[in-house]
Symmetry: C2
């Protein structure tokens, strides 16, 4: 049986050109980029070449690109790195050390001399405030909760509306004198809604607040030029767009204070220690190159296919709801709630029919908790449990969508027959 993969938001196959580009850096050109000899220089060269390609794509400086092990690490470095740097900066400015001694802390970069809102507190304890949303990926959400538990930050979680959109006004209202960071995702990973990042940036920068966005689900379909977005930090993960697993990026705007999290050697401008994952970094650069070449035609094709999928399911299956607005939505994302039945059951039956979908983020699959994303947009626990996500990819065909719809109709019908919740 041919398998149909409709879970591209969970991970995507490495593109053949990407794997080809990576090949030489495993066994032949295998040097450690930190080595000064021939083998090391060879590796260093391609790491920097990849940094250059990615910086062009993001329209930023090469030295603003930090290579990490993936989206989760990038989110952790952005959030914990900023909060740690601010706390360290504050405690030094209130100890016998002078503020300039922060420069000497290995791995701490502090170039925000003009931004003194965090260093003129009358009392001796500074707790920065973070604004984030209640439907972020767990890499952001759990990191914020962890900082709260450790007593290192206070956090406001703003809710999206029922359409899955964050309102700029809600962000503005949440700002407090000690607000240091806003972290709002670019595209939601479960319902695909696109957030107004540039508008949020405009508002919060007036208040001298740093802005991070998790753009893991955005990079393939949305404009990620930093100058248009106006963010200070942006996270990407290569395996979501045809690159390999185990590598990601944190875009880090110059002058953003950050304290290293993976501590050791002097790699990545002393901000991320550990031998560079050369082959994976090369692969990520190649994937970015491919991405920018044919984005427009791919987006148009997927948008058509996605709308076809949505329209046909809503027409053919009763008691179904599209989660998240259709208008401001990633062209690859479809997320339905089917009343009276469980998403997990649909998933298993689809799997038996050869179709791979998801009940939410792959990172939370297997958990029996209802999706925090669907709860945040106002679904009941029961409706959240009845949800299923399909995410399309470049290779997805109309025939695959038709096959999926046909099976979905059959499965939903059969499950509803045996569901205790169904109106008889």
């Amino acid at each position: 049986m041919k398998k149909i993969y409709l879970d591209f938001a969970a991970t995507s196959p490495v593109k053949p050109e990407v794997l080809k580009a990576m090949r030489p850096y495993f066994s032949e050109k295998f040097g450690n980029p930190s080595s000064v000899h021939y083998f090391g220089r060879q590796a260093k060269f391609v790491v920097e070449e990849s940094r250059r390609i990615i910086s062009q794509f993001l329209n930023c400086l090469p030295e603003e690109i930090i290579f990490t092990s993936g989206g989760t690490e990038s989110d952790n470095l952005a959030i914990k790195g900023l909060i740690n740097a601010l706390i360290l900066s504050f405690s030094l400015s209130h100890s016998s050390h002078s503020i300039s001694s922060l420069e000497n802390i290995s791995g701490s970069v502090n170039r925000h001399a003009e931004n003194d809102k965090f260093s003129r507190k009358p009392n001796n304890k500074f707790i920065p405030h973070i604004i984030t949303s209640s439907f972020e990926h767990h890499a952001v959400l759990h990191t914020c909760r962890d900082l709260e538990k450790m007593g290192l930050a206070e956090v406001t979680y703003i809710n999206p509306d029922r359409d899955g959109l964050i309102h700029v006004e809600d962000v503005k209202k949440a700002i407090k004198p000690n607000t240091a960071l806003v972290s709002i995702m670019y595209v939601n990973n479960e319902i695909g809604t696109v957030q107004p990042i540039a508008e949020i940036a405009k508002i919060i920068h007036k208040f001298k607040i740093y802005f991070h966005t998790d753009a893991v689900q955005a990079v393939e379909y949305q404009n990620c030029e930093i100058r248009k977005l106006g963010v200070d930090m942006l996270s990407l993960s290569a395996h979501k767009f045809g690159g390999p697993k185990g590598v990601g990026i944190l875009y880090l705007k110059k002058a953003t204070p950050i304290h290293h999290q993976n501590i050791g050697g002097a790699q990545e401008f002393k901000l991320r220690a550990g031998t560079e994952n050369v082959a994976a970094i090369v692969g990520m650069g190649k994937a970015i190159e491919i991405l920018s070449e044919k984005r427009k035609t791919k987006n148009e094709k997927l948008l058509k296919l996605r709308n076809y999928f949505i329209d046909k399911v809503i027409k053919n299956i009763p008691d179904v709801r599209l989660n998240g607005l259709q208008k401001f939505r990633s062209p690859n994302n479809v997320n339905f709630s089917f009343k009276y039945i469980e998403g997990e059951s649909i998933l298993i039956h689809l799997d038996l029919a050869g179709v791979a979908a998801s009940t939410g983020s792959a990172c939370t699959s297997g958990s029996l908790e209802p999706s925090h994303v669907l709860l945040s947009i106002g679904l009941s626990e029961i409706d959240a449990h009845g949800s299923i996500r399909f995410t399309l990819g470049e290779a997805t065909t109309k025939a695959e969508i038709d096959y999926t719809i046909k099976n979905l109709e059959r499965i939903v019908k059969n499950l509803r027959k045996i569901s205790p919740f169904t109106k008889k």
Copy 2:
């Protein structure tokens, strides 16, 4: 010109069998192990298979293996993870929460109920004490220094002797009532000396102290069976033994308290979030499998070659010193100080002759600081600057060593002619 690679401690080429094993997991079997469908289960299966292979090699339980992005992350997770968990446990036991509520902290594991030395302090601030050595890899050393700077730990750095060995008695003497962790490397990465891990473990466990060892340079040549070593945590990095870059292991003994550092999804027993690097994990398993098959013959061959190298250099070149004892030394490591000249200059001339060596850890190359390892065993700054490390691999031949010695003789002679420090 044929290149001779004598920098295997910096990184090693991926073995052909390893790359072959990894191949299918990039573009064909590309699923996310957290996905419940066919593609996900396929990926999950091989990740768990690799965990099983590695646990057999280390003689531990599969669930005691945490996959990370490499040695540096493993060291960070071990050290910061333990210290954070203890501090959190202490602060909870002194707040309105009960100690058992630690169990509910996502990513915190606390099974050391009997070990109450950290929870019965009269005052309200608990600062754990760490004992480490002054010649650890920077992933351990800088992590410890960072905890000091953040006010989260106090650290004692014990010195090795002039031969490059840590004395068990020195560790014992450094123990204080609040000592929570000892972190001593198994094999030093610059001078290859093998530390008495099992003896240290015996002593410190009497004091209910946790023991971590960075075994990154040990795994290829030393016995790493956990039951023989008696450690609670052990770090490995795949690219040092024929596996790919960007993947490593933290062995974490059951009942060791640890707080997650890379925070997000529920991967790796909730202790290390982020999509598993499937291909790399498969490769690491394969590399471990190969390693255990032919270790004995490889060790004997390398030991002979290494001793030949050392003897011939000492015989043919005047004013040379072998750094680190020859007896308790990794069979792949040679580290010389040549009086009156700079190691960097030797390195550049060797590179021109096609020989790749190192002046110390790759992670600190390019820095003009003298090696902290060589200073810690009592070398003067000048002698430390005159040092060079050669690390052999399985593929190294006698002809390569002869070629290297011939060039080394010529280069040292020429450099000394023009050195201002040479006794004329």
